[in-house]
Symmetry: C2
Subunit: 227 residues, 2 copies
Amino acid sequence: MKIDVEKFNFQSDRILSSLGPEDQALFLSEATPLKFKRGKLVFYEEGIPTGVFIIESGRAKIFKTGLDGKDQIFYIYKKGDLLGYHALLCNEHYEDSCEALEDCQMLFIKRSRFEVLLKKVAGLQTLLIQNMSHEFGVMVNTITVLAQKPLRERLALFLLILQQKYVTIGNIMLPREDLANMIGTARESLSRLLKEFREENLIIIENKAIRLLNPDKLHKIANSQYL
Amino acid sequence: MKIDVEKFNFQSDRILSSLGPEDQALFLSEATPLKFKRGKLVFYEEGIPTGVFIIESGRAKIFKTGLDGKDQIFYIYKKGDLLGYHALLCNEHYEDSCEALEDCQMLFIKRSRFEVLLKKVAGLQTLLIQNMSHEFGVMVNTITVLAQKPLRERLALFLLILQQKYVTIGNIMLPREDLANMIGTARESLSRLLKEFREENLIIIENKAIRLLNPDKLHKIANSQYL
DNA sequence: GTTAAAATGTGATATTTATCACATTTTAAT
DNA sequence: ATTAAAATGTGATAAATATCACATTTTAAC
């Protein structure tokens, strides 16, 4: 497995951006704006899907809570991404939860209207199929990394992934607990390793925000290539 | 997270079994039989998809090979399952590989014919959407288990999952290396834990095959409920 | 049936990471 | 501005698992 950060990107913004202008307009005509303050749940595990969401601004994490109350974060959605549609499309309850990582502006399309759109918008089903097929590959990569790579390599990889989520800010603004829950470790272990990365001049920490100083070296670490 | 074995089942047999008889006949009219001997690759990582497969008999694993050559097994497909379609549907190369775990009889539908079927068979796109949506939930559960649960709980859970894959035989026939690669551990660690499970009368081992003696207790262990 | 290769089990040791406890810093509420 | 709560960092220790080496068993090839 050769690590490629792009292979960890759901590319959920492509569903909407791949529609033609008329179809996009039709799609958005069904949307109502919603605001989610930081920490607010968008949907939750075992909840019944009521519709789908599109992020206009901000970021949201999807996660699952283990029996001991520890979260596992799978993905961070960002501007342009469509989300909340998996459980809706298979008529099941949500297996995951979604929470705003910061104040978010979203659009909401209620379930019945979305189901109408599925029939009316010709290529929408195809786009969903393409997107979810691609997501499968992302999940496969994520599982391999989490199951097999040591902590140091996982941190290097996820920092690179997060750099792309926060590219417009330049700094990774994820709280420590969240980052620990993403890479599958305890927050103390994460702190120790971030300190090591700082000492090796791989990252710099400015008021808790993380900035990458040496993406190439992090990429090598993610690929198990230690110099 | 409450562990439910059913939430780790892709249910890929439902795609075909949910078609009406005429659509099924149309679908199968495009299929040619193929045999895969044990150990033979069905498709492989980075390979270009040439079509989709349906398992008529036998089992096949999908896996990804890490940089150090260690495999990570995600799923075991069985009779009735449709497979090999993810990469095809998003027009990408395979992110995973598939290998026959035992001699398999499969049906193969070449890519161009499958794409015709997608247009001709009315509900097929909907079924694929439903199935892949459901798979997303399975992947979410798998990631949480692999990232957060200790080895003992993972083994308990995967034994229960595997019992269902091998229900027609009654014994789990997966080689040790494969089971270790599925639950994310070294084969030595697996051996030690299987010995413990044997000593606790949770399983019995007959000529390398594993039979579960106490599924209820295993279920409790999988749910972090130790007595 | 025999032999070599592969798979698996076991013992010992090393490494990684978790956990616990507490100190320090940052943030939120007032 | 102050104070309490939450988040984070650090030290020490425990636990889990990997790794290495080798023995034993099973399987495959001839």
